[in-house]
Amino acid sequence: MKLRIAFFLLALASPLQAEVAIQEVTSPKGIKAWLVEDHGIPFTSLSLDFKGGTSLDAAGKRGAVNLMTSLIEEGSGDLDAQGFAAARDALAADFSFSSGEDSVSVSARFLSENREQAMALLHQALVNPLFDQASVERVRAQILSGLRSDLKDASAIAANLDRARSFGDHPYGSDGSGTVDSVTALTRDDILAAHQGALALDRITVGAAGDITAAELGQLVDALVAGLPATGAPQPADVTPQQKGGITVQDFPGPQSVVLFGQGGIGFDDPDYYAASVLNEIIGGGRFTARLMTEVREKRGLTYGIGTALANYDHAAMLSGQFQASNDKVAEAISVIRAQWALIAAEGVSQQELDDAKTYMTGAYPLRFDGNRRIANILVGMQTLGLSSDYPKTRNARIEAVTLADVKRVAAKLLQPQDLHFTVVGQPTGVVSE
């Protein structure tokens, strides 16, 4: 029993506060950037976010923003793709460019000793990409290869079915990479238009961490984005996901089925968001002891892993989950999940579950802020959610304030067993579309 006493004492230790000092920087030309300065290692991580992402694709041009983003590092100015890569590698800088439903993300990591050259190269890529025909065809072929693979990938098939079912004709309703047909049809003009529409100054968020001062960052940001258009393409409208429970089965060969399940979620600006995030942590968060992990994996051995998340997009909110299971176990797993959904909606959760989730969430939060790369990404994420820079100091108090009654009330409101939909891709025994 000695050990148990020790655990009890430690569990009472007060949760850490995140001790991260965020500076709000405004560049000489008026661009806002957040910075965590740390001169311990001679490099800087920089993250840029351009709001909109693949949802800005023009009608009939699905995949244009994604193809454009993939081409940014394939040559610019007087450097072709090989020349650009050689210049970047000679500086030992890392650049990455990616597109998602809500943003185009750019991240960079560069040594202090050649910061200016690295940023000049990145500036050229952002503002003056070549989009030459050879690069377009080479990268298009890579994307088409991926899209063809997706047609025979159970997880990708499930994701596409679930998107279409939830969001229909809204951009969220289809894969931002496009389809084989739409990507095949894209022209250089489409790519140029996507570039002008997606990478504009009216939608930019900047975060940096590492070996750089506020003044240096201001200068750097101005130089980096000089020449981008002031305004870009209009943002999409908000959308309410389809709320219809049931099961959709798509036949696919293999020993297991991929299962996505979900229903409507809760907005980040909703006063009950924090209670809902604690509730989600209890149902299917990242812990081995979450309710569904316990019921489906630990007690019954039906899956290797199961989780849920509050999936908050800029224009919609979902509560989504996923697991994979042998075909003969899918039916039982679904019935366990349905039963838990109904049980938690009716009865809420236990005080012990709430306490455990809160100590986990408040304890884990300060641990996020380690490493320049992680911090730069978090700084961008906080700004896109509209949080203030002192949020890390107040966030744990918001979690602590959630009571058992709050969770019960929010569970009854949020969890809608009749709306819970399962998309099953595989050959599950005894499971049919309903």
Binding site: D38, G363, L367, G371
Partner: protein, 447 residues
């Protein structure tokens, strides 16, 4: 996803040659009286610590017929002790706001927790407890066996690429146990019992078969004192034997195989060559192979394979090279080429072989060589951004027969590699008699 399996896989192994740091000033090394090694890596930028305990027992150390027991056992380490109930281990870590997990490879099994730095003492207490006091029921074992069969179904049986990799591994090793997959063969996993697990535990889990790595906002002397308190009293085992595994005979014949599967949409060609690993005090050849992998098919646009197959011709949509530098015994140097639309697997393989042949004749371009050296130097700086990553680097090396000194010498050995070294290593390793070539094919293409 969870309690994950380390895999020797195409695309899954980060390019190790460019990720190992020296950092002698922030690394301390001790050995407890009972034989447990302790490595402490200081990083005071955030109040976070990672504890890892590495056991020098992996898939390749298992008894014949018990494939997968090292990984199976890794799952069972969460089933409780005399003091801690089933699955309570993770619950306790999570209550502290921490994350915990574990992974198994051919050469080691490792457990880790990432928590606030002031919770390290508790983590050590827990980890020391389960090193000797594990206590699980028959029922726990039976349920976990189902979870692991599901894991195999998800990671391997549902993925034709993983199936090809398994078949290639089995063909690569004529005698050495690396030919059996880390997760084990399905029928052998299904037959593993509670008694098998307990016998395995008693044979291999002991302080003199373990390495403690602590990385983060800690003081090395304080960590040592804590380790002496928690791990110090544990008795060493007298049953730990040298890890001598059956060696490969000379490989005299190329092996080829084709895996056809209706779930394949994008075919590819993979090639693995038997290759020497980093050996303690003798890392030069492995350093040359690391540079060779970067030159031929490292990340980015400028590698020899990418330039030839994606730029000078439109033969491929992707081409890459991988080298497993850290392993107890010789492992593999691998290539993969994903053909462009309309290019057959035969033509893709021929083009790959032509690139290799030309490289063996011409050698590397001086500018490519210089660029890779610059990146190696920068990677030492970037690696310092992740204390957890450093902990993994040290732990994997020490569990695979290397020493702290070897890890710290590695960057300068990489820097000292000459083009001649690379060519000597390339001529030795890129020999088809050492190699397995695998095609992942669609059903249609196979007709």
């Amino acid at each position: 996803m969870f309690r994950t399996l380390g895999r020797r896989a195409f695309g899954l192994i980060a390019l190790l040659p460019l990720s190992l740091p020296a950092m002698a000033d922030t690394v301390s090394h001790f050995t407890l009286k009972n034989g447990m090694e302790v490595v402490v890596i200081e990083d005071h930028r955030a109040p976070v610590v990672t504890q890892m305990v590495w056991y020098k027992i992996g898939r390749a150390d298992e008894a014949a017929g018990h494939s997968g027991i090292a990984h199976f056992f890794e799952h069972l380490m969460f089933k409780g002790t005399k003091e801690i109930g089933p699955n309570e281990f993770s619950a306790i870590v999570e209550k502290q706001g921490g994350d915990d997990n574990a992974f198994t490879t051919q050469d080691y099994t490792a457990y880790f927790q990432r928590v606030a730095a002031d919770r390290l003492d508790l983590m050590m207490k827990l980890e020391a407890d389960r090193m000797v006091n594990l206590n699980m029921s028959e029922e726990d074992v039976a349920t976990e066996r189902q979870v692991i069969l599901e894991e195999r179904g998800q990671r391997v049986d549902s993925d034709p690429g993983s199936l090809l990799q398994e078949q290639m591994g089995a063909a690569q090793f004529l005698n050495h146990p690396y030919g059996i997959p880390v997760i084990g063969w399905r029928q052998e996993i299904a037959a593993l019992t509670h008694d098998d697990a307990m016998a395995f535990y008693k044979a291999y889990y002991a302080p003199n078969n373990a390495i403690l790595v602590v990385a983060g906002d800690v003081d090395p002397q304080a960590v040592l004192a804590m380790a002496e308190t928690h791990y110090g009293p544990l008795p060493p085992s007298d049953k730990i034997k040298p890890r001598l595994r059956p060696a490969e005979p000379p490989q005299l014949s190329e092996r080829r195989l084709v895996l056809r599967d209706e779930r394949v949409a994008q075919p590819y060609v993979a090639r693995s060559y038997l290759a020497p690993q980093r050996k303690s005090g003798d890392q030069k050849e492995a350093a040359a192979l690391s540079v060779l992998a970067e030159l031929l098919g490292g990340a980015g646009t400028t590698s020899v394979l990418t330039r030839a197959l994606q730029f000078d011709s439109q033969t491929a949509v992707y081409a890459s090279a991988f080298y497993s530098d850290v392993s107890l015994d010789p492992d593999t140097f691998s290539l993969v080429v994903v053909p462009a639309g309309g290019v057959s697997l035969g033509d893709a393989e021929a083009a790959m072989d032509a690139v290799i042949a030309k490289f063996l004749q011409d050698g590397p371009k001086p500018e490519d060589f210089a660029r890779i050296k610059t990146q190696i130097r920068a990677s030492e700086i970037y690696a310092r951004d992740s204390a957890g990553g450093l902990a993994r680097s040290y732990g994997a090396a020490l569990a695979s027969g290397l020493t702290v000194q070897d890890v710290q010498d590695w960057p300068s050995i990489l820097q000292s590699v000459t083009p001649e070294d690379v060519m000597v290593a390339a001529r030795k390793v890129l020999n088809k008699n050492n190699a397995v070539t695998g095609w992942l094919a669609t059903l249609e293409a196979a007709k």
